[in-house]
Amino acid sequence: MNSNSNLQRFWLVALRLLIGWHFLYEGLVKVLNPKWTSLGYLMDSQGWFASVFHSMASNAGTLSVINFLNEWGLVLIGLSLILGLLTRLGCIGGILLLLLYYLSHPPFIGSEELFMMPREGSYLWIDRNLIEIAALATLYVFPTSKTFGLDGLLGNLLKNKPTQSH
């Protein structure tokens, strides 16, 4: 192993931690706030899929399911990335959530000024959701959790189990 690949691994793990932190905290904030709802965000949707998101918000039952999935999805994805546990699943989950955010608030010309929610920063087609999607995809193809994470231990556990029975 040369120092270059050590550096590579360091930054991959760091990236995994940072994104994990971001997801986990976003999730915890929502879980800890009993008043939190995705309603405003969904109603603020613009672009091609806006009507889909609006209809999600219009039904109280669907909305509470979405709220639950989003809150705990964020928490679990965050934990998965930080702990390096089932990390590839976490990456896929994260990419799916971010894709939904991207589609509901697409940074397209014209739709940008329609959003009621204040957004920091200026975006043209590419926004932070998309960049985070790319980062998660990168983590998916360069996994680190077998060495730096619980996936390695999990792998050993699963590998050792059948041998023990012999």
């Binding site: 008043k35 060495t147 730096f148 792998g155």
Partner: protein
């Protein structure tokens, strides 16, 4: 993946402990997160404690009484089925089928449009419409149709029995099958009709303003009080949630001494300036112009005042008996029928302030303004400023209106310790120079630039820690429309309160005394404008006197 596996496989068995440490290398991040979340929660709690300091109790609108299912059905009559009459009958549960068609179509086109759904969800008031009166045939026929729309359906719906049409409102008032009337005729008819209704023993819901002339104002109060009927006056703001919260804030003295209140009207379209469309079926055959002219006694009171004060230039300019489509549909533009900005729009603002502060009739009123934008031959001004003095309360209420700019200004209550702004949300901010909060401001516990209290209608909680996003949505009406699933129309609530008081006894929130105060205040503002001098209220003699 393959490379990572290879790395792992290459590890000698003896380095198991090292790899276990590596595997757990990121776990401390969770500790840091837990610490961070703990600190953040502590911070929020300290701010929330500040919120507790200014905690408000839950408020319920006066109309929140349960509708008793076995109560007696109230039989309604409506006099005047123009723009407001339609809104009132709709709020009572009888909408025009054509409007339901529009709402249904809108809901089909956009799931966001829940007007039809909301309307269907409004509880029925256990009322029927048995009589309608309008002097324009088209409106009267529309009122008959709406009155029979008992299932709140569109044009293709099934309708109930049709209410009877009366050509003269006195005939409607004489009908045995009418218990109560909604009066939504033009301003110059309000007082006369209300008195006749009260004398006939009918309960009255009267649109604002209460009166057109000053002399009738006293008479209406006497007649209504003597009759013992249930009287509700049409300031539906009495049901507005944020006004009820505002009253609590003032009662708790959170604002300190209030020295100035600014209330405003800002509109910017012909409709808002009373240039209403003229109906294509309107002509001398379909409109009873003689009745439109008004009650002889009222017209005499009006002309007596105008002539005695040298204000003849504000009368007319067209003769009263000459048929005019413009004057019939746009009557608010002429003093001959109207009470101008004071009667139409200041009254709502004043009643809100009177509801919150209980200021009563002002000591004096001074006005200025003019016809500055809609120079279409109208005699009532389209820009008006009136300042009302309340020396007993050590405060001024400034009303400022234009019909040619929509720049929204809200209602602002300026206190020495904090100010309160009422719009679709309610925001209280501490004053940087407050005496009472000086210590807390110095310590940084209270930040004058962040709201001390934020109230978003539709949410029961008043929270000092409303997120910026929540506020953002609320100010654009989004949360208000959807949170808690149900949004009530305040006009519906106001009628509901009236109907429940008729059935079960009790006095509605906007009673005859509130109406009297409103009317006198508006007249003082109007007279100050017309005569160009300050008007005073002699409390003991109950008279408007000149400065």
């Amino acid at each position: 993946m393959s490379e990572e596996n290879k790395n792992q496989q290459e590890q000698p068995a003896s380095s198991g402990r090292r790899s276990a440490i590596k595997a757990l290398v990121s776990v401390p991040a969770l500790g840091a997160m837990a610490y961070g979340v703990y600190k953040k929660t502590q911070y929020d709690r300290s701010r929330r404690n500040l919120g507790d300091l200014f905690r408000l109790e839950p408020t319920t609108p006066p109309s929140a009484q349960e509708i008793k299912p076995d109560g007696r059905t109230i039989r309604l009559g409506i006099i005047g089925y123009g723009i407001r009459g339609k809104q009132l009958l709709r709020a009572a549960g009888f909408a025009e089928p054509s409007l339901i068609d529009t709402w249904k179509e809108a809901a089909r086109l956009s799931s966001k449009d829940t007007r039809y759904k909301d309307y269907l969800e409004q509880e029925g008031l256990n009322v029927t419409v048995t009589g309608v009166c309008d002097i324009f045939d088209t409106y009267a026929e529309a009122a008959i149709l709406s009155g029979s729309n008992i299932h709140r359906e569109g044009s293709d719906g099934t309708f109930g029995p049709q209410p009877k049409r009366y050509r003269y409102y006195k005939d409607l008032l004489a009908a045995d099958d009418v218990d109560a009337v909604i009066i939504a005729a033009p301003d110059h008819w309000h007082g006369t009709m209300a008195m006749d209704a009260a004398r006939a023993g009918k309960h009255v819901y009267l649109e604002k303003p209460m009166s057109w002339t000053v002399p009738e104002t006293y008479m209406i109060r006497d007649v209504v009080k003597q009759s013992g009927i249930t009287f509700q006056f049409g300031h539906q703001g009495r049901q507005t949630d944020s006004y009820l919260k505002a009253k609590q804030i003032v009662d708790k003295d959170i604002l300190g001494a209030i020295s100035l209140i600014e209330v405003c009207t800002n509109r910017n379209d012909p409709n808002g300036a009373w240039v209403y469309p003229i109906h294509e079926t309107a002509n001398p055959q379909t409109i009873d112009w003689r009745q439109f002219e008004g009650d002889d006694d009222r017209v005499k009171e009006y002309l007596d005042y105008m002539q005695s004060q040298g204000l003849a230039r504000y009368v007319g300019p067209e003769p009263r008996d000459r048929f005019s489509l413009e004057r019939f549909f746009r009557w608010r533009c002429w003093w001959d029928y109207s009470t101008g900005l004071s009667g139409d729009l200041l009254t709502h603002e004043y009643d809100a302030v009177n509801q919150i502060l209980g200021v009563g009739i002002p000591h004096s009123a001074t006005s200025s303004g003019g016809v500055y934008f809609f120079k279409d031959g109208r005699t009532v001004p389209d820009v008006l400023q009136t300042s009302f003095e309340f020396p007993d309360r050590s405060l001024t209420m400034l009303y400022s209106a234009t019909l040619a700019s929509q720049r929204s200004r809200g209602k602002v209550f300026m206190g020495h310790d904090a100010s309160m702004e009422l719009s679709s949300s309610l925001i209280v901010k501490a004053d940087p120079r407050s005496t009472r909060y000086a210590d807390q401001i110095a310590k940084g516990i209270i930040k004058p630039d962040t709201p001390l209290i934020t109230y978003i209608p539709g949410q029961e909680n008043v929270d000092a820690v409303s997120s910026a996003t929540e506020l953002y949505f609320a100010q654009r009406g989004l949360l208000y429309a959807y949170v808690n699933g149900k949004r009530y129309d305040t006009t519906y609530l106001h009628i509901r309160e009236w109907v429940e008081c008729i059935r079960n006894g009790g006095t509605p929130s906007c009673d005859i005394d509130a109406a009297f105060e409103e009317a006198i205040t508006a007249h003082m503002g109007t007279r100050a404008y017309l005569e160009g001098r300050t008007m005073y209220w002699d409390k003991d003699k109950e008279e408007i006197v000149r400065g």
